[in-house]
């Protein structure tokens, strides 16, 4: 079931604060985060996030058509390397 629109999108407040801080001092270093459930809001555009996938941090540069998705959607948690038969070729 989708989230009630009454509540608005879920945005990690600490993460948002960090983005705003970056906006002020103009730095664009990747922000490390575990907040995969956090919605991408327009404020995030142009910032880079390092989103944890349970093992490593994937760096993601947010572009304008990513708005509305969750950060976790861009950091895959499964690593499929093909089946044995596929590899031999």
């Amino acid at each position: 079931m989708s989230r009630s629109s009454k509540k608005g999108p879920y945005v990690d407040l600490k993460l948002l604060a960090k983005v705003e801080k970056q906006k002020e001092d103009g730095k664009r270093t990747p922000i490390k985060t575990w907040a995969r459930a956090c919605t991408v809001v327009p404020d995030f555009i142009g910032h880079t996030f390092a989103v944890h996938n349970g093992k490593v941090f994937h760096q993601i540069l947010i572009t304008d058509n990513m708005v509305g998705h969750k950060l976790g959607e861009f950091s895959v948690t499964r690593n499929y390397r093909g089946h044995g038969a596929d590899k031999k070729k």
Partner: protein, 125 residues
Amino acid sequence: MPRILGVDIPNNKKVPFSLAGIYGVGLVRARLICEKCGIDQDKRAFELSDDELAQLTNFIDKNFVVEGNLRREVQGNIARFREIGCYRGRRHAAGLPVRGQRSKTNARTRKGRKKTVANKKILRK
């Protein structure tokens, strides 16, 4: 055979069912359209007058995205998912189910016909 919105040629069914032949119009929409255009829903499609057909075409065109435009919209959305590299885009690219269905077994619609792996059972032992 009546013609609505260029390509669609609905048949001799009752009007709502006939309208449902349009991509982007299901039964619910079809009934709504009939209601708004004031067309008797028990009428058959071939009984529609030119005026009524024009009215229907006009109404659908104004209110809904259908056929080619709708198909393009859907394709565009998928292309966007792929481009931004989100989970759904990856699933589309990999030809696997997109909405969280299981893929250990089944999922044959997305994955296509079974590809048999020789000696799979023996290898597992």
